[in-house]
C-alpha cells in the first residue's frame, strides 16, 4: 500500500513542482508476501529476478543431469529418445531465457541505480510488470513437458519445419512463452536505457560511468533491436501452424532456410546479450582485487560498442552448411573472425589490469580470473568454428556444445556467480563464508572442465549433438564428461547453502566499502544497502573519486 502511495506522491510532486515534503518520508518495505507482488523498488525487483533466475538454473540444471545420465553409457538406458530431445530443448531454452538473461537483468536492477547515483529505475511499475511476466512464462514453458505429445523436442533453435509441420501441439504454448519472455526483456531493456540516459547523477558524464553500466546500456540496445525479431519469427511460426500461412513452407512459396536467417539474425546478437554484461561484471571486479584502475577504460567502451555492432552482421556463420556462395562464406567468415579483435582488446585489458597489481584472491576475484581464462578458451573454439571450411567438419557436433558451454557456463554464469559474491555483502549486509566459498569455487571450476573439456575431443572425433545414443568409440570421454557433470551439478547444492547461510547467519559487515579497494558509488551507501538510496544525488567530487578509471582524467 505504502509503496503505491509513494509513487503517487512522486507524481503529484512532479506535477506541482513541489519537492519539499519529499525528503522526510523514508520508510522501509511493506510487510508480508504482498511486498514482493506489488513492489516497485529496484532492489526488491533485482532480488526477485536473481532468485527466479537461480530457481530456473536449478531446473535447467536438473534437465542437464538427465541428459548426462543418459549419455553416461552408450545405448538407451534411462529415457526414451523423444524425452531426451525434450530435455535438450528445454534445458537450452530455460538456461538462455530463464536463467542467464533474468540473472543479468536482476544484477542491472540492483546495481545500475546504485552505480549511477539514481533513486530507482526510470519506470518502477513497468519494472514490476516485466518481472512478474517471467514466472508465468517459465511455468508455461515447463508445463509443455506434461502435455499430450510431450514438450518441444526440436532443439532450442526451433528450426522450421521441425517446429512447424512436425512439432507437437504443445509448441503453441512454447511460442506464447517465448512471446512473453521477449516482452519482458524488451521492457526491461527500455527501462535500463531510460534509467542510464536520464537518471544519472547530474554530474556524471557518460565516460564517468562504471563499465557494468556501459556494457548494460549497449546490451539493452541489442535487446530492443534483436528480441522483436525473435518475436516476429515465432509469430510467423504461429501463423504457419495455425492460420494457413506459408512463411517457412515450400509448398506455399515459403522457405525453411529463411527461418534460419531470421532466427540467427536474432540469435547472434542474443549471444552477445548474454556475454556483454559479463564483461562489465569482470571489469568491475578485477580492478578491485588487483588494486589498480582498470586498464584502458575508454578502449573497453569502444570495444563493447564494436562487438555489439558487429554482432548484427555475422549471423550466417551459424548456417555455413545450408549452401552459400563462396563470397558469402568468405564474408561471414572474415566478419566473424573480426569480432576477436575487440574481444582481444578486452582480454588484454583485463590481463594488463592484473599485471603488477597487488592481487588478492577473494572468491569474487577467483571467479573473475576463471572467467578470463575459460571464456578465452571458449573464444578460441569459437574462432575455430568461424572458419567456414573447418565448420563443415565441426557443425552439429559436440565441439559446438563444448564451445558454447565454455562461453555461457564458464563465461556468463561464472561472471554472475562472481557478481553475486562481490555484491552480496553490500546487498544483505553479511559476509559469506570465505572458506566454504573457496572450496565451492575449486570444486566447480575443476568439475566444469572435466565436464566440458572432453566434449571438444568428442566433437572433433565426430560425435553428433542432440542424439541420446552414440558409437562405442565415444564411450570413455562421455563417461568422464558425465562424471564431471554430476560433480558440477552437485556443487550448486553447496552454492545454495553458502548463499542462504550468508543471508541468514553471515557475519555482519561494518564497512560501507566492503572490499577495501573497491571503487564505485555503490560502496558509498550504507551496508546493507538501505531500501531507498540516493535521495540526493552524489556530488561531482564523490563521482570523480569513485570512477575507478580515475587515472585517465
Amino acid at each position: 500500500m505504502s509503496t503505491t502511495t509513494t509513487d503517487l506522491q512522486d507524481e503529484i510532486d512532479e506535477i506541482e513542482g513541489s519537492h519539499d515534503s519529499h525528503d522526510d518520508h523514508h520508510h522501509g518495505p511493506e510487510k508480508g508476501l504482498m511486498r514482493w507482488v506489488k513492489t516497485t523498488n529496484h532492489k526488491d525487483i533485482g532480488t526477485l529476478y536473481i532468485w527466479f533466475a537461480f530457481s530456473m538454473l536449478l531446473i535447467g540444471g536438473a534437465m542437464a543431469m538427465v541428459i548426462r545420465a543418459e549419455l553416461f553409457m552408450p545405448g538407451i538406458q534411462l529415457v526414451d529418445p523423444n524425452f531426451f530431445n525434450q530435455m535438450t530443448t528445454l534445458h537450452g531454452l530455460i538456461m538462455v531465457f530463464g536463467a542467464i538473461m533474468p540473472a543479468f537483468v536482476g544484477l542491472a536492477n540492483w546495481q545500475i541505480p546504485l552505480m549511477i547515483g539514481a533513486k530507482d529505475m526510470a519506470l518502477p511499475r513497468m519494472n514490476n510488470w516485466s518481472f512478474w511476466i517471467l514466472p508465468f512464462a517459465g511455468m508455461m514453458l515447463i508445463s509443455t513437458l506434461f502435455m499430450e505429445g510431450g514438450g518441444p523436442a526440436f532443439g532450442w533453435t526451433f528450426y522450421a519445419p521441425l517446429s512447424t509441420t512436425f512439432a507437437p501441439d504443445s509448441t503453441d504454448f512454447f511460442i506464447f512463452a517465448v512471446h512473453m519472455l521477449g516482452f519482458s526483456s524488451i521492457m526491461g531493456a527500455i527501462n535500463v536505457i531510460a534509467t542510464i540516459m536520464n537518471m544519472r547523477a547530474p554530474d556524471m558524464k557518460y565516460m564517468d560511468m562504471p563499465l557494468f553500466v556501459w556494457t548494460w546500456l549497449i546490451t539493452a540496445f541489442l535487446l530492443i533491436a534483436a528480441m522483436p525479431v525473435l518475436a516476429g519469427a515465432v509469430t510467423m511460426m504461429l501463423t504457419d501452424r495455425n492460420f494457413g500461412t506459408s512463411f517457412f513452407d515450400a509448398a506455399g512459396g515459403g522457405d525453411p532456410v529463411m527461418f534460419q536467417h531470421i532466427f540467427w539474425f536474432f540469435g547472434h546478437p542474443e549471444v552477445y546479450i548474454m556475454i556483454l554484461p559479463a564483461f562489465g561484471v569482470v571489469s568491475q571486479i578485477i580492478p578491485t582485487f588487483a588494486r589498480k584502475p582498470l586498464f584502458g577504460y575508454s578502449s573497453m567502451v569502444y570495444a563493447t560498442a564494436s562487438i555489439a555492432l558487429l554482432s548484427f552482421v555475422v549471423w550466417a556463420h551459424h548456417m555455413f552448411l545450408t549452401g552459400m556462395p563462396i563470397a558469402g562464406q568468405l564474408y561471414f567468415m572474415y566478419a566473424t573472425i573480426m569480432i576477436s579483435v575487440p574481444t582481444g582488446v578486452k582480454v588484454f585489458n583485463w590481463v594488463t589490469t592484473m599485471w603488477r597489481g597487488s592481487m588478492t584472491f577473494e572468491t569474487p576475484m577467483l571467479w573473475a580470473v576463471a572467467f578470463v581464462i575459460l571464456f578465452t578458451i571458449g573464444g578460441f573454439s569459437g574462432l575455430m568454428l568461424g572458419i567456414a571450411p573447418a565448420d563443415i567438419q565441426y557443425h552439429d557436433t559436440y565441439f559446438v556444445v563444448a564451445h558454447f558451454h565454455y562461453v555461457l557456463v564458464t563465461g556468463a554464469l561464472f561472471s554472475i556467480i562472481a557478481a553475486v559474491f562481490y555484491w552480496l555483502p553490500k546487498w544483505c549486509g553479511n559476509m559469506y563464508n570465505e572458506r566454504l566459498a573457496k572450496i565451492h569455487f575449486w570444486w566447480a571450476v575443476i568439475s566444469v572442465n572435466v565436464l566440458f573439456f572432453p566434449q571438444h575431443f568428442l566433437g572433433l572425433a565426430g560425435m553428433p549433438r542432440r542424439i541420446p545414443d552414440y558409437s562405442l568409440q565415444f564411450a570413455d570421454f562421455n563417461m568422464i564428461s558425465s562424471i564431471g557433470g554430476f560433480a558440477f551439478g552437485a556443487s550448486f547444492i553447496l552454492l545454495t547453502y553458502i548463499i542462504v547461510d550468508c543471508i541468514r547467519n553471515g557475519k555482519p559487515v561494518k564497512e560501507d566499502r566492503v572490499w577495501d579497494s573497491a571503487k564505485g558509488l555503490e560502496w558509498t551507501v550504507a551496508t546493507p544497502a538501505p531500501y531507498h538510496t540516493f535521495d540526493t544525488p552524489p556530488s561531482k567530487k564523490v563521482i570523480l573519486e569513485e570512477s575507478s578509471h580515475i587515472g585517465e582524467h
Binding site: 512532479e14 516476429g232 522457405d255
Partner: protein, 185 residues
C-alpha cells in the same frame, strides 16, 4: 532533490518504444527482402519456374558438367515420383531432354505443383529450362501415370568451378486448384 528527478520527455519515450516496434516490423520485412534477394542472386538454389525465351547460346565443347536429378514429394501427397534418368553428363550450351515419371496412387483427382531447386546456388541462374512440368500445375486423374519431360541446357557462361549440378523437384499438393503456379516462385 530537485536536480535528481529529471523529467524524461515524451519524445524520448516515443523514440525508445519505436525501436522494438520497428524491429518487429523489420522481421516481417525480411520475408519479401529475402525473396527478392534470392530471386536476383539465385541464392539458395532458387531457379526460374518459367520458360527460357532468350537467344540460343554458343556451345562450349571443351568441358562437361554432371547433372544429378532428384525427386521428392511432400508428406501426404500420394504420387509416386522419380526421374527416369538419374544422372547425365552435359556439354554447356547443348539442349537435352529427360523425363520424370509420376503416378497418382490414390483414387482421387490430385493437382500438384513441382518446386524446382538447384544446387549449388551459383548454378541456379545458368540452368535454363525450355520445357518443364514445373511451369504449371499438374493434374492427375485417379491412378494415372504420366511421363513429364524437362527440356533444358546449361549455358556456357557458368563458372569454371562448377562441375556438378543437382536439380531437384519437390512435388506438393496445390491448396487452391484455381491458382496457376505457385505464388512467389
Amino acid at each position: 532533490m530537485s536536480q535528481q528527478k529529471q523529467t524524461i520527455t515524451k519524445a524520448f519515450w516515443v523514440k525508445l518504444f519505436l525501436v522494438p516496434l520497428g524491429m518487429f516490423a523489420f522481421a516481417f520485412a525480411l520475408v519479401p527482402l529475402y525473396d527478392t534477394f534470392c530471386d536476383i542472386t539465385g541464392l539458395n538454389g532458387r531457379t526460374s519456374s518459367s520458360s527460357y525465351e532468350g537467344q540460343p547460346i554458343e556451345v562450349d565443347e571443351t568441358r562437361t558438367i554432371t547433372i544429378d536429378f532428384l525427386a521428392a514429394t511432400a508428406p501426404g501427397f500420394p504420387v509416386k515420383f522419380y526421374p527416369m534418368t538419374t544422372k547425365m553428363k552435359v556439354v554447356p550450351g547443348k539442349l537435352y531432354t529427360i523425363n520424370y515419371y509420376a503416378e497418382n496412387r490414390s483414387n482421387e483427382v490430385i493437382v500438384g505443383q513441382a518446386v524446382p531447386s538447384v544446387a549449388p546456388g551459383e548454378a541456379a541462374s545458368h540452368l535454363k529450362k525450355l520445357e518443364c512440368f514445373c511451369f504449371n500445375n499438374q493434374k492427375f486423374e485417379p491412378k494415372q501415370p504420366i511421363e513429364m519431360p524437362v527440356r533444358f541446357f546449361v549455358d556456357s557462361e557458368i563458372g569454371k568451378e562448377v562441375y556438378n549440378i543437382t536439380l531437384s523437384y519437390n512435388f506438393v499438393k496445390v491448396k487452391n486448384t484455381a491458382t496457376e503456379g505457385v505464388a512467389g516462385l
